[in-house]
């Protein structure tokens, strides 16, 4: 009506939905949410955990279980032998390929199955049957098909990742807001354009969540996947350390490296969520 109403609305319009104001005010040291504290908290937690671990080993008098000190020395030993980098590269290489194949196959497959209900009816039982089968059960198949090479662990990692990705994509498409489809059809989009411009983009936040989970699974499966007579990798390190006798310090060292790299991978994927094209999907859920 009058200009006052206009002013009120526009000033209200600047209120965002849950996105906290960035930088400036919040970055003072001493503020509970500043970057410094965000690092100190988890690090402090880790230090506490390591102390408890070391104490527990000493109190129990266990001969076999390593202390954090043993593990640290094990890691240094691996670095000195030049093995640590080699093993990390080998595992990351296999996860990279297995996971990428899972995304390249799983996302389009999920889009199609989510959209065409007849295809979904045909394929979904298959997927649900294959999904809970542990990758370890696939090892004999992997050896028979791919022999003893990098392809076999890559195949296992692919299997472990493709299901979470496909299922998340299907769910995203099936739960997509109808209004986006109607609006897009209203503007005359054909099927191909509809998929690329609307369906994929509307589902992208959920797909990325599925990818995050799948990456965690892929990395988790690396130990099992490297049981197949490959001679490098963090999973191989753990299995070999078992065979070598009492090297449980190396076993735990391998576990620690796997955990740390898993953390880094997760942080990287989280960065994907910051892009404008998907940021809207996560708004309002966390600070």
């Amino acid at each position: 009506m009058k200009s006052t109403a206009a002013e009120i609305t526009d000033r209200q319009g600047l209120t965002s939905n849950g996105a906290a104001p960035q930088t400036g005010e919040r970055a003072r040291v001493g503020d509970a949410d500043s970057l410094l504290w965000r690092i100190v908290r988890p690090v402090g937690m880790a230090a506490l955990f390591l102390t408890l671990w070391g104490l527990a080993v000493r109190w129990s008098g266990s001969d076999l279980f390593p202390t954090p000190g043993n593990v640290a020395r094990g890691i240094i030993e691996l670095i000195q032998k030049g093995l640590l980098i080699k093993y990390i590269v080998a595992s990351v290489f296999r996860v990279s390929w297995g996971f990428t194949l899972a995304v390249v196959l799983g996302v389009p497959l999920g889009l199609v199955l989510g959209w065409y209900s007849r295809a979904f009816q045909a394929f979904n039982p298959f997927i649900q049957i294959l999904r809970p089968i542990s990758p370890i059960a696939w090892i004999p198949v992997a050896i028979l098909w791919f022999g003893v090479s990098d392809a076999a662990p890559i195949f296992l990692i692919f299997l472990a990742s493709v299901f979470p990705i496909t299922v998340a994509t299907i769910a995203a498409v099936q739960n997509m807001q109808l209004v986006y489809l109607r609006a897009a059809q209203n503007f005359g989009l054909g099927t191909g354009e509809l998929f690329r411009q609307v369906i994929l983009r509307a589902c992208l936040p959920q797909i990325i969540t599925g990818i995050r989970i799948a990456l965690g699974v892929a990395w988790l499966v690396v130990v099992a996947a490297e049981m197949i007579a490959v001679n490098s990798g963090l999973g191989y390190l753990i299995i070999d350390a078992r065979n070598a006798g009492k090297r449980y310090d190396l076993v735990v060292a391998g576990m620690v490296m796997i955990g740390l790299i898993g953390l880094i991978l997760d942080l990287l994927v989280r960065q994907l969520e910051k892009f404008d094209e998907v940021r809207w999907g996560y708004v309002g859920r966390r600070k």
Binding site: I8, R182, N186, A202
Partner: protein
């Protein structure tokens, strides 16, 4: 009556019942016409099927029986020449304001496109927000983006399904003013669904009153008041009361229908 651009002929709609298995009749032989350049409102009680009717007219749903003719041709699917404005969440959250408004202009050249987008962003009063994303805007601003998007595509007809329903009172008033202003300058045909009788009287040339389910058009009221309409003028109040009466509602809050 000027030539009918939209002709709703004997439209009935039945949905399969979810629980009982029996069919639910939502619309029963609805007939109406809309002339070119007219602003027509459809009002009715909640759940009477007004949105369903509008979706059928726009081509998103298929009527169980009857036909919709637009420009003399039957409607089978949605068409970019007739853009639908949704009640909320119609804007695409993965595109910013500029890209949303330009969504219907994909086939234009870059320069022309940018000019059209700028014009309509200004028209709805969102200058300066071109790179903002919908989740950063208020509800009212998002609806304005949607209206700008609809207008930029230069449709012949605009369908609006309770577009201001999710907004607060003051914002609604402002939006209505802006909408009338735009309609007067762009001269589009608008078919507007609302449950708010005052809104209908403030906006429409003609008001179609629907009954409860199974709905049909019970009355048609011409609103021949000049614009801009004063909310306290006797003509306005008379029309409003007339509609209240026709819908069997009382003017006293707390009293049941006569």
């Amino acid at each position: 009556m000027k030539e009918a651009v939209i002709s709703i002929q004997n439209v009935s709609m039945r949905f399969p019942g979810k629980r009982t298995g029996e069919e639910i009749a939502v619309l029963e032989k609805v007939n109406a016409d809309v002339a070119r350049g007219e602003f027509v409102c459809i009002v009715g009680p909640s759940g009477c099927g007004k949105s369903t009717l509008l979706n059928i007219v726009a081509g998103f749903l298929e009527a169980t029986s009857g036909e919709i003719l637009v420009e003399g041709l039957p409607v089978r699917r949605p068409d970019p020449r007739r853009i639908f404005v949704f009640q909320e969440n119609g804007v695409f959250p993965w595109l910013n304001v500029h890209e949303n408004v330009g969504f219907g202009l994909r086939r234009q050249t870059h320069g022309k496109r940018d000019r059209i987008i700028a014009r309509y962003i200004d028209m709805v009063g969102l200058g300066g927000f071109e790179s903002a994303y919908p989740h950063e805007l208020s509800g009212g601003m998002r609806q304005r983006v949607e209206i700008a998007r609809a207008l930029a595509a230069n449709p012949d007809i605009i369908y609006m399904d309770e577009p201001f329903g999710a907004l607060d009172f003051l914002t609604r008033l402002k939006m209505r003013t802006d909408l009338v202003r735009i309609w007067q300058s762009e001269k589009k045909t608008i078919l507007f669904v609302t449950h708010d009788i005052e809104e209908a009287v403030q906006l429409a040339d003609r008001i179609l009153i629907m009954t409860a389910r199974p709905a049909t058009i019970q009355d048609v009221v011409d609103v021949d008041l000049p614009r801009p309409r004063h909310l306290d003028s006797p003509g306005y109040l008379e029309k409003r009361d007339r509609i209240f009466q026709l819908m069997g509602m009382s003017l006293r809050v707390g009293e049941t229908a006569a």
